[in-house]
Amino acid sequence: MSMINYASREINCKIVYYGSGLGGKTTNLEIIYGKVKPDTRGKLISLATETERTLFFDFLPVDLGTIRGFKTRFHLYTVPGQVYYNASRKLILKGVDGIVFVADSQIERMEANQEAMQNLYDNMAEYGYDLTKMPFVLQYNKRDLPNAAPLADMQAALNPGWEVTDEAKQRVTPDPFHPGENLIEQLPTGEWIERATYFEAVAVTGDGVFDTLKAVSKLVLKALA
Protein backbone atom coordinates (compact mmCIF):
# COMPACT_ATOMS: atom_id res chain seq x y z
CA MET A 1 0.00 0.00 0.00
CA SER A 2 2.05 2.90 -1.25
CA MET A 3 1.36 6.24 0.34
CA ILE A 4 1.91 9.54 -1.42
CA ASN A 5 2.27 12.47 0.94
CA TYR A 6 1.81 15.68 -1.02
CA ALA A 7 2.49 17.75 2.10
CA SER A 8 5.99 16.36 2.80
CA ARG A 9 6.48 15.42 -0.88
CA GLU A 10 7.25 11.77 -0.24
CA ILE A 11 6.28 8.48 -1.85
CA ASN A 12 6.40 5.66 0.71
CA CYS A 13 6.49 2.02 -0.37
CA LYS A 14 6.81 -1.26 1.50
CA ILE A 15 9.01 -4.13 0.37
CA VAL A 16 9.06 -7.47 2.19
CA TYR A 17 11.89 -10.00 2.07
CA TYR A 18 10.34 -13.45 2.44
CA GLY A 19 11.82 -16.93 2.61
CA SER A 20 12.72 -19.94 4.71
CA GLY A 21 14.74 -19.79 7.92
CA LEU A 22 18.45 -18.94 7.80
CA GLY A 23 18.23 -18.11 4.08
CA GLY A 24 19.81 -14.65 4.37
CA LYS A 25 16.91 -12.20 4.57
CA THR A 26 18.29 -10.33 7.57
CA THR A 27 21.76 -10.39 5.98
CA ASN A 28 20.34 -8.57 2.94
CA LEU A 29 19.11 -5.75 5.17
CA GLU A 30 22.35 -5.65 7.15
CA ILE A 31 24.38 -5.29 3.97
CA ILE A 32 22.10 -2.53 2.68
CA TYR A 33 22.33 -0.79 6.04
CA GLY A 34 26.12 -1.02 5.98
CA LYS A 35 26.58 0.17 2.42
CA VAL A 36 24.15 3.02 1.85
CA LYS A 37 25.05 6.54 2.95
CA PRO A 38 23.94 7.16 6.54
CA ASP A 39 21.92 10.22 5.50
CA THR A 40 19.78 8.12 3.15
CA ARG A 41 18.77 5.46 5.61
CA GLY A 42 17.14 5.21 9.01
CA LYS A 43 17.77 2.87 11.90
CA LEU A 44 17.84 -0.90 11.40
CA ILE A 45 15.26 -2.28 13.81
CA SER A 46 15.48 -5.95 14.68
CA LEU A 47 12.91 -7.78 16.74
CA ALA A 48 14.91 -10.96 17.25
CA THR A 49 15.31 -13.71 19.83
CA GLU A 50 18.44 -13.98 21.98
CA THR A 51 19.99 -16.26 19.39
CA GLU A 52 19.43 -13.63 16.68
CA ARG A 53 16.60 -15.47 14.96
CA THR A 54 14.02 -12.99 13.70
CA LEU A 55 11.02 -13.09 16.01
CA PHE A 56 8.73 -10.52 14.45
CA PHE A 57 10.59 -8.57 11.76
CA ASP A 58 13.64 -6.54 10.80
CA PHE A 59 13.01 -3.11 9.41
CA LEU A 60 15.12 -0.62 7.49
CA PRO A 61 13.92 2.58 5.80
CA VAL A 62 16.00 3.79 2.80
CA ASP A 63 15.67 6.74 0.43
CA LEU A 64 16.45 5.81 -3.16
CA GLY A 65 16.29 9.23 -4.81
CA THR A 66 13.83 11.81 -6.06
CA ILE A 67 11.22 11.53 -8.82
CA ARG A 68 9.16 14.53 -9.92
CA GLY A 69 10.24 16.35 -6.78
CA PHE A 70 9.06 13.54 -4.53
CA LYS A 71 11.45 11.65 -2.28
CA THR A 72 11.09 7.87 -2.77
CA ARG A 73 11.22 6.16 0.60
CA PHE A 74 11.31 2.38 0.73
CA HIS A 75 10.50 0.54 3.92
CA LEU A 76 12.28 -2.80 3.85
CA TYR A 77 11.02 -5.60 6.09
CA THR A 78 12.02 -9.19 6.62
CA VAL A 79 9.70 -11.82 8.04
CA PRO A 80 10.68 -14.56 10.50
CA GLY A 81 11.87 -17.58 8.53
CA GLN A 82 10.65 -20.11 11.03
CA VAL A 83 7.19 -21.52 10.31
CA TYR A 84 6.49 -21.35 14.03
CA TYR A 85 6.10 -17.58 13.64
CA ASN A 86 3.61 -17.67 10.77
CA ALA A 87 1.18 -15.34 12.54
CA SER A 88 3.76 -12.56 12.57
CA ARG A 89 4.87 -13.36 9.00
CA LYS A 90 1.36 -12.71 7.83
CA LEU A 91 1.10 -9.40 9.69
CA ILE A 92 4.19 -8.03 7.97
CA LEU A 93 2.65 -8.64 4.54
CA LYS A 94 -0.12 -6.17 5.26
CA GLY A 95 0.05 -3.30 2.79
CA VAL A 96 3.04 -4.74 0.90
CA ASP A 97 4.02 -3.16 -2.45
CA GLY A 98 6.77 -5.54 -3.54
CA ILE A 99 8.18 -8.93 -2.52
CA VAL A 100 11.67 -10.39 -2.61
CA PHE A 101 11.77 -14.13 -2.09
CA VAL A 102 15.19 -15.09 -0.71
CA ALA A 103 15.89 -18.75 -1.45
CA ASP A 104 18.70 -20.76 0.11
CA SER A 105 20.52 -22.43 -2.80
CA GLN A 106 21.73 -25.42 -0.80
CA ILE A 107 20.22 -28.63 -2.17
CA GLU A 108 19.11 -29.78 1.27
CA ARG A 109 17.12 -26.55 1.73
CA MET A 110 15.07 -26.97 -1.43
CA GLU A 111 12.07 -28.41 0.38
CA ALA A 112 12.15 -25.60 2.95
CA ASN A 113 12.26 -23.06 0.09
CA GLN A 114 9.25 -24.62 -1.57
CA GLU A 115 7.33 -24.69 1.68
CA ALA A 116 8.10 -21.01 2.25
CA MET A 117 6.98 -20.17 -1.30
CA GLN A 118 3.69 -22.00 -0.80
CA ASN A 119 3.27 -20.25 2.54
CA LEU A 120 3.87 -16.89 0.84
CA TYR A 121 1.14 -17.60 -1.75
CA ASP A 122 -1.25 -18.70 1.00
CA ASN A 123 -0.60 -15.71 3.24
CA MET A 124 -0.93 -13.27 0.35
CA ALA A 125 -4.17 -14.90 -0.74
CA GLU A 126 -5.60 -14.40 2.73
CA TYR A 127 -5.20 -10.66 2.25
CA GLY A 128 -6.68 -10.94 -1.24
CA TYR A 129 -3.32 -10.08 -2.86
CA ASP A 130 -2.27 -11.88 -6.02
CA LEU A 131 1.46 -12.53 -6.04
CA THR A 132 1.48 -12.94 -9.81
CA LYS A 133 0.14 -9.41 -10.26
CA MET A 134 2.56 -7.53 -8.07
CA PRO A 135 6.26 -6.61 -8.12
CA PHE A 136 8.00 -9.86 -7.26
CA VAL A 137 11.67 -10.82 -7.50
CA LEU A 138 13.54 -13.99 -6.50
CA GLN A 139 17.00 -14.02 -5.05
CA TYR A 140 18.96 -17.26 -5.12
CA ASN A 141 21.32 -16.79 -2.23
CA LYS A 142 24.45 -18.66 -1.13
CA ARG A 143 25.52 -19.36 -4.71
CA ASP A 144 29.14 -19.69 -3.50
CA LEU A 145 28.48 -22.84 -1.47
CA PRO A 146 29.69 -26.16 -2.89
CA ASN A 147 26.32 -27.78 -2.27
CA ALA A 148 24.37 -25.10 -4.15
CA ALA A 149 21.76 -26.53 -6.53
CA PRO A 150 22.15 -25.68 -10.25
CA LEU A 151 20.33 -22.54 -11.32
CA ALA A 152 18.02 -24.49 -13.64
CA ASP A 153 16.89 -26.65 -10.71
CA MET A 154 16.21 -23.57 -8.58
CA GLN A 155 14.14 -22.06 -11.37
CA ALA A 156 12.23 -25.27 -11.97
CA ALA A 157 11.42 -25.67 -8.29
CA LEU A 158 10.66 -22.09 -7.30
CA ASN A 159 9.96 -20.11 -10.45
CA PRO A 160 8.34 -22.47 -12.96
CA GLY A 161 6.04 -19.68 -14.17
CA TRP A 162 2.34 -19.04 -13.94
CA GLU A 163 -0.12 -19.19 -16.79
CA VAL A 164 -0.85 -15.98 -18.70
CA THR A 165 -4.50 -16.02 -19.69
CA ASP A 166 -4.81 -12.34 -20.66
CA GLU A 167 -4.36 -12.34 -24.44
CA ALA A 168 -3.04 -8.79 -24.43
CA LYS A 169 -0.06 -9.98 -22.36
CA GLN A 170 0.66 -13.05 -24.50
CA ARG A 171 3.77 -11.80 -26.26
CA VAL A 172 7.41 -12.69 -25.73
CA THR A 173 8.86 -10.32 -23.13
CA PRO A 174 12.60 -10.46 -22.58
CA ASP A 175 14.03 -10.42 -19.06
CA PRO A 176 15.88 -7.07 -18.85
CA PHE A 177 18.33 -8.52 -16.33
CA HIS A 178 19.23 -11.73 -18.19
CA PRO A 179 19.95 -11.33 -21.90
CA GLY A 180 18.61 -14.23 -23.94
CA GLU A 181 15.99 -15.17 -21.35
CA ASN A 182 12.30 -14.28 -21.35
CA LEU A 183 9.92 -13.35 -18.58
CA ILE A 184 6.87 -14.14 -20.70
CA GLU A 185 7.06 -16.86 -23.34
CA GLN A 186 5.08 -19.63 -24.99
CA LEU A 187 5.83 -23.23 -24.05
CA PRO A 188 6.04 -25.92 -26.75
CA THR A 189 2.62 -27.05 -25.48
CA GLY A 190 1.18 -23.72 -26.63
CA GLU A 191 0.60 -22.40 -23.13
CA TRP A 192 1.85 -18.88 -22.28
CA ILE A 193 3.69 -18.49 -19.00
CA GLU A 194 5.27 -15.67 -17.04
CA ARG A 195 8.12 -15.95 -14.57
CA ALA A 196 9.45 -13.50 -12.01
CA THR A 197 12.93 -12.14 -12.58
CA TYR A 198 15.68 -13.60 -10.39
CA PHE A 199 19.13 -12.74 -9.10
CA GLU A 200 22.00 -14.88 -7.94
CA ALA A 201 23.53 -13.68 -4.71
CA VAL A 202 26.04 -14.22 -1.98
CA ALA A 203 24.40 -11.96 0.57
CA VAL A 204 27.18 -12.15 3.19
CA THR A 205 29.61 -10.54 0.75
CA GLY A 206 26.98 -8.20 -0.69
CA ASP A 207 26.95 -9.84 -4.15
CA GLY A 208 23.54 -9.45 -5.76
CA VAL A 209 22.03 -7.62 -2.79
CA PHE A 210 21.74 -4.22 -4.47
CA ASP A 211 20.78 -5.70 -7.84
CA THR A 212 17.82 -7.32 -6.11
CA LEU A 213 16.84 -4.18 -4.23
CA LYS A 214 17.10 -1.99 -7.32
CA ALA A 215 15.02 -4.39 -9.41
CA VAL A 216 12.18 -4.71 -6.94
CA SER A 217 12.11 -0.96 -6.19
CA LYS A 218 11.97 -0.17 -9.87
CA LEU A 219 9.11 -2.62 -10.37
CA VAL A 220 7.26 -1.05 -7.45
CA LEU A 221 7.60 2.49 -8.84
CA LYS A 222 6.64 1.32 -12.33
CA ALA A 223 3.53 -0.32 -10.89
CA LEU A 224 2.56 3.11 -9.58
CA ALA A 225 3.35 4.87 -12.85
Partner: protein, 162 residues
Protein backbone atom coordinates in the same frame (compact mmCIF):
# COMPACT_ATOMS: atom_id res chain seq x y z
CA UNK B 1 -2.92 -3.88 -10.33
CA UNK B 2 -4.48 -5.28 -7.20
CA UNK B 3 -2.17 -3.42 -4.85
CA UNK B 4 -2.83 -0.11 -6.56
CA UNK B 5 -6.39 -0.03 -5.36
CA UNK B 6 -5.17 -0.15 -1.78
CA UNK B 7 -2.85 2.82 -2.23
CA UNK B 8 -3.73 6.27 -1.08
CA UNK B 9 -2.46 9.81 -1.10
CA UNK B 10 -3.36 13.02 0.60
CA UNK B 11 -3.07 16.64 -0.37
CA UNK B 12 -1.84 19.67 1.52
CA UNK B 13 -5.47 20.60 2.25
CA UNK B 14 -6.09 17.16 3.79
CA UNK B 15 -2.91 17.57 5.78
CA UNK B 16 -4.04 21.00 7.00
CA UNK B 17 -7.42 19.66 8.15
CA UNK B 18 -5.82 16.67 9.90
CA UNK B 19 -3.25 18.88 11.62
CA UNK B 20 -5.91 21.31 12.76
CA UNK B 21 -7.98 18.50 14.31
CA UNK B 22 -4.94 17.13 16.11
CA UNK B 23 -3.85 20.52 17.41
CA UNK B 24 -7.28 21.12 18.87
CA UNK B 25 -7.16 17.66 20.46
CA UNK B 26 -3.76 18.33 22.06
CA UNK B 27 -4.97 21.67 23.39
CA UNK B 28 -8.13 20.13 24.89
CA UNK B 29 -6.46 17.05 26.34
CA UNK B 30 -3.18 18.62 27.46
CA UNK B 31 -1.30 15.70 25.88
CA UNK B 32 2.25 16.25 24.58
CA UNK B 33 2.23 14.86 21.13
CA UNK B 34 0.00 13.06 18.61
CA UNK B 35 1.21 10.88 15.76
CA UNK B 36 -0.78 9.36 12.94
CA UNK B 37 0.52 6.09 11.57
CA UNK B 38 -0.83 4.12 8.66
CA UNK B 39 -1.56 0.41 9.32
CA UNK B 40 1.30 -0.69 7.12
CA UNK B 41 3.73 1.23 9.36
CA UNK B 42 4.21 4.57 7.62
CA UNK B 43 4.16 7.80 9.53
CA UNK B 44 1.48 10.16 8.25
CA UNK B 45 1.73 13.16 10.58
CA UNK B 46 3.21 14.38 13.86
CA UNK B 47 1.69 17.26 15.81
CA UNK B 48 2.73 18.86 19.12
CA UNK B 49 6.12 18.57 20.82
CA UNK B 50 8.58 17.02 18.40
CA UNK B 51 9.46 13.60 19.81
CA UNK B 52 13.12 12.96 20.58
CA UNK B 53 13.10 9.44 19.13
CA UNK B 54 13.25 8.10 15.58
CA UNK B 55 9.65 8.64 14.37
CA UNK B 56 9.97 6.20 11.44
CA UNK B 57 10.99 3.35 13.72
CA UNK B 58 8.28 4.38 16.15
CA UNK B 59 5.64 4.25 13.41
CA UNK B 60 6.69 0.77 12.29
CA UNK B 61 6.61 -0.62 15.80
CA UNK B 62 3.24 1.01 16.46
CA UNK B 63 1.68 -0.67 13.42
CA UNK B 64 3.22 -4.01 14.45
CA UNK B 65 1.95 -3.54 18.01
CA UNK B 66 -1.55 -2.82 16.77
CA UNK B 67 -1.57 -5.72 14.31
CA UNK B 68 -0.31 -8.16 16.93
CA UNK B 69 -3.03 -7.01 19.30
CA UNK B 70 -5.66 -7.40 16.59
CA UNK B 71 -4.66 -11.05 16.30
CA UNK B 72 -4.75 -11.46 20.07
CA UNK B 73 -8.27 -10.00 20.04
CA UNK B 74 -9.36 -12.57 17.48
CA UNK B 75 -7.91 -15.40 19.54
CA UNK B 76 -10.13 -14.43 22.47
CA UNK B 77 -13.18 -14.02 20.26
CA UNK B 78 -13.19 -10.24 19.69
CA UNK B 79 -12.99 -8.73 16.21
CA UNK B 80 -10.34 -6.20 17.28
CA UNK B 81 -9.20 -3.94 20.10
CA UNK B 82 -9.93 -0.47 18.84
CA UNK B 83 -7.70 1.16 21.43
CA UNK B 84 -4.58 0.24 23.40
CA UNK B 85 -3.02 1.84 26.43
CA UNK B 86 0.63 1.53 27.47
CA UNK B 87 1.43 2.95 30.87
CA UNK B 88 4.89 4.09 31.87
CA UNK B 89 6.22 5.64 35.04
CA UNK B 90 6.29 9.14 33.55
CA UNK B 91 5.25 8.80 29.92
CA UNK B 92 2.27 6.88 28.67
CA UNK B 93 0.74 6.29 25.29
CA UNK B 94 -2.77 5.70 24.07
CA UNK B 95 -3.44 4.26 20.63
CA UNK B 96 -6.74 4.26 18.78
CA UNK B 97 -7.93 2.95 15.45
CA UNK B 98 -9.14 5.45 12.83
CA UNK B 99 -11.26 4.14 9.92
CA UNK B 100 -9.49 0.71 10.09
CA UNK B 101 -6.58 2.15 8.14
CA UNK B 102 -4.78 4.58 10.43
CA UNK B 103 -3.70 4.62 14.07
CA UNK B 104 -3.75 7.71 16.26
CA UNK B 105 -1.02 7.59 18.92
CA UNK B 106 -1.06 10.06 21.78
CA UNK B 107 1.91 10.56 24.08
CA UNK B 108 1.17 12.15 27.42
CA UNK B 109 2.68 12.60 30.87
CA UNK B 110 1.41 13.45 34.33
CA UNK B 111 0.23 16.92 33.27
CA UNK B 112 -3.00 15.27 32.21
CA UNK B 113 -5.00 12.15 33.03
CA UNK B 114 -5.86 9.02 31.13
CA UNK B 115 -9.56 9.80 31.53
CA UNK B 116 -9.29 13.20 29.86
CA UNK B 117 -7.10 11.87 27.04
CA UNK B 118 -9.50 9.01 26.42
CA UNK B 119 -12.54 11.30 26.41
CA UNK B 120 -11.04 13.83 24.00
CA UNK B 121 -9.58 11.13 21.82
CA UNK B 122 -13.01 9.65 21.20
CA UNK B 123 -14.26 12.90 19.66
CA UNK B 124 -11.05 13.31 17.67
CA UNK B 125 -11.23 9.77 16.28
CA UNK B 126 -14.75 10.51 15.02
CA UNK B 127 -13.58 13.65 13.26
CA UNK B 128 -10.48 11.98 11.78
CA UNK B 129 -12.58 9.05 10.57
CA UNK B 130 -14.67 11.44 8.49
CA UNK B 131 -11.55 13.14 7.09
CA UNK B 132 -9.79 9.90 6.21
CA UNK B 133 -12.82 8.27 4.67
CA UNK B 134 -12.93 11.15 2.20
CA UNK B 135 -9.20 10.67 1.49
CA UNK B 136 -9.51 6.90 0.96
CA UNK B 137 -12.54 7.18 -1.27
CA UNK B 138 -10.46 9.33 -3.59
CA UNK B 139 -7.62 6.79 -4.10
CA UNK B 140 -4.07 7.69 -5.10
CA UNK B 141 -4.65 10.69 -7.31
CA UNK B 142 -3.95 13.88 -5.37
CA UNK B 143 -6.85 15.64 -7.08
CA UNK B 144 -9.88 13.72 -8.30
CA UNK B 145 -9.59 14.69 -11.97
CA UNK B 146 -5.79 14.50 -12.31
CA UNK B 147 -3.75 11.51 -13.44
CA UNK B 148 -1.44 9.71 -11.04
CA UNK B 149 1.69 11.54 -9.95
CA UNK B 150 3.98 8.98 -11.55
CA UNK B 151 1.96 8.48 -14.74
CA UNK B 152 4.36 8.49 -17.68
CA UNK B 153 7.42 8.70 -15.40
CA UNK B 154 8.94 5.47 -16.76
CA UNK B 155 12.05 7.21 -18.13
CA UNK B 156 12.67 9.05 -14.87
CA UNK B 157 12.33 5.79 -12.96
CA UNK B 158 14.84 4.13 -15.31
CA UNK B 159 17.28 7.00 -14.76
CA UNK B 160 16.96 6.73 -10.99
CA UNK B 161 18.28 3.18 -11.16
CA UNK B 162 20.81 3.55 -13.94
Amino acid sequence: MSVGSASWSFTEEDFGAITHTLQKFLFDSNARCALLVDRSGQLVATVGEQPNFDPTAFATLTAADFSANDQLARLIGETDFNSLFHQGEKESMYLADVARRVILVTLFDNRTTLGLVRLKMKETVGELTRLFEAVFSRGTSGHPQQPHLLAGADDEIDQLFS
